[in-house]
Amino acid sequence: MLKVLFFARIRESLDCAEVNVEWQHSVSSVGALRATLAERGNRWQEVLSEENLICAVNQSVVNELHALNDGDEVAFYPPVTGG
Protein backbone atom coordinates (compact mmCIF):
# COMPACT_ATOMS: atom_id res chain seq x y z
CA MET A 1 0.00 0.00 0.00
CA LEU A 2 1.09 3.57 -0.70
CA LYS A 3 -0.11 6.28 1.69
CA VAL A 4 -0.67 9.41 -0.43
CA LEU A 5 -1.06 12.82 1.26
CA PHE A 6 -2.17 16.19 -0.14
CA PHE A 7 -1.57 19.56 1.50
CA ALA A 8 -2.80 23.17 1.43
CA ARG A 9 -4.23 24.39 -1.89
CA ILE A 10 -3.82 20.93 -3.43
CA ARG A 11 -5.72 19.28 -0.59
CA GLU A 12 -8.54 21.83 -0.93
CA SER A 13 -8.72 21.56 -4.72
CA LEU A 14 -9.02 17.78 -4.53
CA ASP A 15 -11.15 17.92 -1.40
CA CYS A 16 -8.96 15.09 -0.19
CA ALA A 17 -6.21 14.96 2.47
CA GLU A 18 -5.16 11.33 2.10
CA VAL A 19 -5.77 8.26 -0.08
CA ASN A 20 -4.37 4.75 0.06
CA VAL A 21 -3.28 3.28 -3.27
CA GLU A 22 -2.45 -0.38 -3.64
CA TRP A 23 1.16 -0.80 -4.72
CA GLN A 24 1.61 -2.47 -8.14
CA HIS A 25 3.90 -2.09 -11.15
CA SER A 26 1.65 0.55 -12.67
CA VAL A 27 2.45 2.87 -9.72
CA SER A 28 6.12 2.04 -9.27
CA SER A 29 7.37 5.60 -9.84
CA VAL A 30 6.18 9.07 -8.82
CA GLY A 31 5.29 9.90 -12.45
CA ALA A 32 3.30 6.69 -12.79
CA LEU A 33 1.42 7.32 -9.53
CA ARG A 34 0.62 10.83 -10.68
CA ALA A 35 -0.80 9.51 -13.97
CA THR A 36 -2.85 6.88 -12.14
CA LEU A 37 -4.29 9.45 -9.70
CA ALA A 38 -5.14 11.78 -12.60
CA GLU A 39 -7.57 9.14 -13.89
CA ARG A 40 -9.82 9.80 -10.89
CA GLY A 41 -11.59 12.67 -12.69
CA ASN A 42 -11.21 16.11 -14.29
CA ARG A 43 -10.28 17.89 -11.06
CA TRP A 44 -7.54 15.33 -10.33
CA GLN A 45 -6.30 15.52 -13.92
CA GLU A 46 -6.03 19.31 -13.65
CA VAL A 47 -4.42 19.52 -10.21
CA LEU A 48 -1.94 16.71 -10.76
CA SER A 49 -0.71 18.21 -14.02
CA GLU A 50 0.30 21.48 -12.30
CA GLU A 51 3.87 22.24 -13.23
CA ASN A 52 5.12 23.37 -9.82
CA LEU A 53 3.56 20.59 -7.78
CA ILE A 54 6.14 19.22 -5.34
CA CYS A 55 6.38 15.55 -4.43
CA ALA A 56 7.98 14.13 -1.29
CA VAL A 57 8.52 10.42 -0.66
CA ASN A 58 9.06 9.39 2.94
CA GLN A 59 9.38 13.11 3.74
CA SER A 60 12.16 13.90 1.26
CA VAL A 61 11.57 15.87 -1.92
CA VAL A 62 12.01 13.71 -5.06
CA ASN A 63 11.53 13.98 -8.83
CA GLU A 64 9.15 12.21 -11.25
CA LEU A 65 11.51 9.30 -11.84
CA HIS A 66 11.80 8.36 -8.17
CA ALA A 67 10.86 4.68 -7.67
CA LEU A 68 8.07 3.86 -5.23
CA ASN A 69 8.10 0.84 -2.95
CA ASP A 70 5.28 -0.80 -1.06
CA GLY A 71 4.72 1.07 2.23
CA ASP A 72 6.04 4.43 1.01
CA GLU A 73 4.48 7.68 2.22
CA VAL A 74 4.00 9.99 -0.77
CA ALA A 75 2.98 13.66 -0.49
CA PHE A 76 1.94 16.19 -3.14
CA TYR A 77 1.96 19.87 -2.24
CA PRO A 78 2.31 23.40 -3.68
CA PRO A 79 5.43 25.60 -3.26
CA VAL A 80 6.00 26.24 0.45
CA THR A 81 5.34 29.63 2.10
CA GLY A 82 6.41 29.35 5.74
CA GLY A 83 8.66 31.54 7.83
Partner: protein
Protein backbone atom coordinates in the same frame (compact mmCIF):
# COMPACT_ATOMS: atom_id res chain seq x y z
CA UNK B 1 22.25 21.84 20.83
CA UNK B 2 20.31 21.90 17.57
CA UNK B 3 16.56 21.93 18.15
CA UNK B 4 13.29 22.42 16.25
CA UNK B 5 9.82 23.04 17.65
CA UNK B 6 6.56 23.35 15.71
CA UNK B 7 3.74 24.52 17.94
CA UNK B 8 0.40 26.35 18.03
CA UNK B 9 1.34 28.22 21.26
CA UNK B 10 3.00 31.63 21.23
CA UNK B 11 6.66 31.98 22.26
CA UNK B 12 8.75 34.60 24.06
CA UNK B 13 11.86 35.66 22.05
CA UNK B 14 13.71 36.70 25.22
CA UNK B 15 13.13 33.33 26.91
CA UNK B 16 14.14 31.42 23.79
CA UNK B 17 17.38 33.43 23.61
CA UNK B 18 18.18 32.68 27.27
CA UNK B 19 17.49 28.96 26.72
CA UNK B 20 19.82 28.95 23.70
CA UNK B 21 22.82 29.83 25.86
CA UNK B 22 21.65 27.61 28.73
CA UNK B 23 24.11 29.07 31.20
CA UNK B 24 27.29 28.47 29.20
CA UNK B 25 29.64 31.43 28.76
CA UNK B 26 31.92 30.33 25.94
CA UNK B 27 29.92 31.80 23.08
CA UNK B 28 29.82 35.57 23.01
CA UNK B 29 27.54 36.10 20.01
CA UNK B 30 23.84 35.43 19.43
CA UNK B 31 22.02 36.35 16.21
CA UNK B 32 18.24 35.95 16.05
CA UNK B 33 15.46 36.41 13.55
CA UNK B 34 11.76 36.79 14.38
CA UNK B 35 9.02 36.76 11.75
CA UNK B 36 5.66 38.37 12.53
CA UNK B 37 2.27 38.33 10.78
CA UNK B 38 2.09 41.60 8.83
CA UNK B 39 -1.02 43.71 8.72
CA UNK B 40 -0.54 44.28 5.00
CA UNK B 41 0.90 41.79 2.52
CA UNK B 42 1.32 42.64 -1.19
CA UNK B 43 -1.03 45.59 -0.56
CA UNK B 44 -3.79 43.36 0.81
CA UNK B 45 -5.08 44.06 4.34
CA UNK B 46 -4.58 40.90 6.40
CA UNK B 47 -7.15 40.11 9.09
CA UNK B 48 -5.95 36.64 9.99
CA UNK B 49 -3.67 33.86 8.90
CA UNK B 50 -3.83 30.08 9.02
CA UNK B 51 -0.61 28.10 8.89
CA UNK B 52 -0.75 24.50 7.71
CA UNK B 53 2.23 22.13 7.76
CA UNK B 54 3.28 18.56 7.04
CA UNK B 55 3.88 17.11 10.50
CA UNK B 56 7.08 15.12 10.70
CA UNK B 57 8.53 16.37 7.43
CA UNK B 58 8.63 19.94 8.75
CA UNK B 59 10.77 18.98 11.73
CA UNK B 60 12.93 16.66 9.63
CA UNK B 61 13.57 19.34 6.98
CA UNK B 62 14.48 22.04 9.49
CA UNK B 63 16.68 19.65 11.49
CA UNK B 64 18.61 18.84 8.29
CA UNK B 65 19.05 22.58 7.62
CA UNK B 66 20.37 23.13 11.18
CA UNK B 67 22.83 20.27 10.71
CA UNK B 68 23.99 21.74 7.41
CA UNK B 69 24.47 25.16 9.04
CA UNK B 70 26.46 23.60 11.91
CA UNK B 71 28.72 21.95 9.32
CA UNK B 72 29.41 25.22 7.51
CA UNK B 73 29.82 27.64 10.43
CA UNK B 74 30.99 27.58 14.06
CA UNK B 75 27.57 27.06 15.63
CA UNK B 76 27.28 26.65 19.40
CA UNK B 77 23.53 26.18 19.58
CA UNK B 78 20.72 26.76 17.09
CA UNK B 79 16.99 26.71 17.74
CA UNK B 80 14.00 27.14 15.42
CA UNK B 81 10.47 27.61 16.75
CA UNK B 82 7.68 27.85 14.16
CA UNK B 83 3.99 28.33 14.90
CA UNK B 84 1.09 26.69 13.06
CA UNK B 85 -2.70 27.17 13.20
CA UNK B 86 -4.60 30.44 13.43
CA UNK B 87 -2.62 33.68 13.85
CA UNK B 88 -3.48 37.40 13.88
CA UNK B 89 -1.54 40.46 12.62
CA UNK B 90 1.36 41.22 14.94
CA UNK B 91 1.63 37.60 16.13
CA UNK B 92 4.98 35.83 16.14
CA UNK B 93 5.33 33.24 13.34
CA UNK B 94 8.91 32.03 13.56
CA UNK B 95 12.02 32.49 15.69
CA UNK B 96 15.53 31.42 14.72
CA UNK B 97 18.45 31.85 17.13
CA UNK B 98 22.10 30.91 16.69
CA UNK B 99 24.90 31.23 19.22
CA UNK B 100 28.56 31.21 18.25
CA UNK B 101 31.99 32.29 19.45
CA UNK B 102 32.10 34.52 16.32
CA UNK B 103 29.51 37.07 15.31
CA UNK B 104 30.01 36.55 11.57
CA UNK B 105 29.18 32.86 11.98
CA UNK B 106 26.11 33.62 14.12
CA UNK B 107 24.75 36.04 11.48
CA UNK B 108 25.50 33.80 8.49
CA UNK B 109 24.08 30.64 10.04
CA UNK B 110 20.93 32.45 11.23
CA UNK B 111 20.22 33.94 7.79
CA UNK B 112 21.05 30.64 6.02
CA UNK B 113 18.60 28.77 8.26
CA UNK B 114 15.81 31.29 7.56
CA UNK B 115 16.46 31.24 3.80
CA UNK B 116 16.34 27.44 3.65
CA UNK B 117 13.37 27.18 5.98
CA UNK B 118 11.47 29.53 3.63
CA UNK B 119 12.57 27.51 0.61
CA UNK B 120 12.19 23.93 1.85
CA UNK B 121 10.13 23.49 5.02
CA UNK B 122 6.56 22.34 4.21
CA UNK B 123 4.50 25.18 5.70
CA UNK B 124 1.70 26.98 3.84
CA UNK B 125 0.05 30.28 4.71
CA UNK B 126 -3.59 31.06 4.04
CA UNK B 127 -4.59 34.68 4.55
CA UNK B 128 -8.00 35.97 5.52
CA UNK B 129 -8.90 39.52 4.52
CA UNK B 130 -11.69 41.70 3.12
CA UNK B 131 -11.64 39.64 -0.11
CA UNK B 132 -12.04 36.35 1.74
CA UNK B 133 -9.46 33.60 2.09
CA UNK B 134 -6.57 32.77 -0.19
CA UNK B 135 -3.38 30.74 -0.16
CA UNK B 136 -0.26 32.90 -0.20
CA UNK B 137 1.89 32.35 -3.31
CA UNK B 138 5.60 31.50 -3.14
CA UNK B 139 8.02 34.32 -3.91
CA UNK B 140 10.68 34.11 -6.58
CA UNK B 141 12.86 36.32 -4.34
CA UNK B 142 12.92 33.59 -1.67
CA UNK B 143 14.24 31.11 -4.21
CA UNK B 144 16.97 33.57 -5.23
CA UNK B 145 17.93 34.23 -1.61
CA UNK B 146 18.37 30.50 -0.93
CA UNK B 147 20.41 30.04 -4.11
CA UNK B 148 23.03 32.55 -2.91
CA UNK B 149 24.41 30.05 -0.39
Amino acid sequence: MLDVRVQTEDFDPGELQASLLAGQQEEGAVATFTGYVRQTNDERAVEGMYLEHYPGMTEKTIAATLKEAAGRWAVGAALVVHRVGHLAPGDHIVWVGVSSAHRGDAFAACEFIMDFLKMRAPFWKKETGAQGEHWVGARESDKQRAERW
